[in-house]
């Protein structure tokens, strides 16, 4: 089985789904079901985490999905840590998608504060999945201190532009010792397939599913994109060449 393994836990889906921006909780559930995902991330700022009757939380079947709370909205390490502890105190598993995004415009992650928060949370026993810019050195530093994954962005959140950071993501994948999850910016199944073909271990998608009139259909399409990309990666893609290769080799006259 080609399972995704994070912190020793096995998942047979390599597509994670975000729960923001949907037109209704029913649309969100549709997307989750269509995607075949097993990990869903929820912004702690959007829910009453200690209230099981919270209208959004009540729609997530925790038997079926791993609820991955995220700290989006946190401006610095202290705030992110406080939110993570809040989620754990409310009975969530100690998994946390660490987002420290002091810039509310492009929601780009702060590398310094993300690193500080990751250090604290890892020491406290959290399984930390940090959202980062596609910075290979930061990815290595985070792996070193024990984060469970790294989650580099393909493009700024919500832009649907695809893997614009491909050169850096390729380096992160090449050097990774933990799963690499491409997060943010994936707007089409082909983007997800592309990330998976590159060798990403998983992808996370939200906006592309939330803003379509047919979340379930789009989620199913992403599922196929992720699976196709993964299978292509495992099968081994042909090497990409800049020009055609001569069928009559230029050095063919060298007989021995």
């Amino acid at each position: 089985m080609d399972d995704l393994i994070i912190a020793g836990r096995r998942f047979n889906s390599r597509l994670m789904v975000g729960t923001g921006k949907f037109s209704s909780n029913a649309a969100m559930v549709d997307a989750m079901e269509g995607s075949g995902c097993q990990i869903v991330t929820v912004a702690l700022r959007r829910v009453d985490i200690d209230n099981p009757a919270d209208s959004l939380l009540a729609h997530i079947d925790r038997e079926k999905y791993l609820l991955l709370p995220n700290t989006s909205g946190a401006r610095d390490a202290i705030e992110a840590v406080r939110l993570a502890r809040l989620a754990r105190a409310a009975g969530c598993e100690p998994w946390i998608k660490l987002e420290v995004t002091p810039d509310p415009y492009y929601l780009l992650p702060d590398p310094i504060e993300t690193f500080k928060a990751a250090e604290i949370l890892v020491k406290e026993g959290f399984i930390v999945l940090p959202y980062i810019n596609a910075d290979p050195v930061l990815a290595k530093r985070l792996q070193e201190i024990g984060t469970a994954t790294v989650m580099p962005l393909g493009a700024p959140i919500g832009t649907n532009k695809g893997v614009r950071t491909r050169e850096s993501i390729a380096i992160i994948i090449e050097q990774a010792i933990v799963p690499v999850v491409v997060d943010a910016g994936l707007g089409a199944p082909s983007h997800a397939a592309f990330a998976m073909e590159m060798g990403a271990d998983a992808v996370l998608v939200n906006t592309a599913l939330a803003v379509t009139p047919n979340p379930r259909g789009m989620a199913a399409a992403f599922k196929k994109g992720v699976e196709a990309g993964r299978e292509a990666f495992l099968a081994g893609l042909g090497e990409r060449r800049d020009r055609a290769e001569a069928s009559s080799p230029l050095t063919g006259f060298l007989r021995d």
Binding site: A74, Y106, A210
Partner: protein, 375 residues
Amino acid sequence: MSFLDEIGKYDPQQVLAAIEAKTASDVERALNAERLGAEELQALLSPAAAAFLEPMAARAHRVTLQRFGNNILLYAPLYVSNLCTNGCRYCGFAAGNKMPRRTLTLDEVEREAQVLHDQGFRHILLVTGEAQGKVTNDYLADCARRIRHLFSSISIEVWPMQTDGYRQMVEAGVDGLTIYQETYDRELYAEMHPYGNKRDYDFRLLTPERGGAAGIRRIGLGFLLGLGQFRVEAFFLGLHALHMSRHYWRTLVSVSFPRIRPADGGFAPLHPVSDRNFVQLICALRLLLPDAGLVLSTRESAVLRDNLLPLGITQMSAGSCTAPGGYAEKDDSGRQFAIDDDRTPEEVARVIRAHGYEAVWKDWDSAFLDKTVHA
């Protein structure tokens, strides 16, 4: 450089002339630009853009959907005092108006807050007039602390404070500040504010920057629609929002569109803004500021509010009462102005859902600022 320096570079008359001179091709160029600047904003606010309202609305819809999804955040104002020493000519709370005046006790504030909490609200806006000496920073901080356990977000729309005052508010759990310039036109501003602390145009103009310096997370800007020429006012509002987002990049800017409503004192708008102009200005600002929260209050009619939903609005008040104590006591005799959309919060939420949006009650967590929890 402060926004005072920036706005000082412009002559409002020349701005108006430049806006009026924009052509259809300027508008088309602005509509196709990936990111808009001052020139493009002028084009979208111009009379020439009136012919492009539909494509502007379509793009505003797309941009908002991409950034905010199908969500509308609901909030409620909580008026804690209507005491006021200012003489704003358009406002029901103006010192010269005879009306019942009161400042709620902390118990009364909590009672009002409980009503709103029970209706489902988790985002609250504390509102007052300006009566320093009687309604103080300490009082407002006490109000915030008193109701903090009921809400995930507390904003204020009160008198302008010094930076230290805003720091005190953040400590008390306030994460949002709304402060309208009313008009960016200095002469008109002086005319509209004949007496009181509010006469100080510069101090008010720099208020958002003091809030940003104090670390307030969300700052709402706006002008009072109906005072000045809306095209010029909206242009300066757009520049103000851009200025804030560059200089206080950790603070998210939102923009409101308060149109003058009938208030005690009988003020008539100097430059009425038609529904068509209103839509144009909302779309123009959405295209300039793709990430800004756009706020619509119950000043507008139910029909208009429902129709504006897809055009870029991201936050709405509902079931509002503009008199201190009005929620628990059902008495609005001390109100600031008459609202138009008088549907209950649940009705508004239902209509939002019927339009294909999720009515969001909570989009913030007090734990971000509360240093006492999980420290």
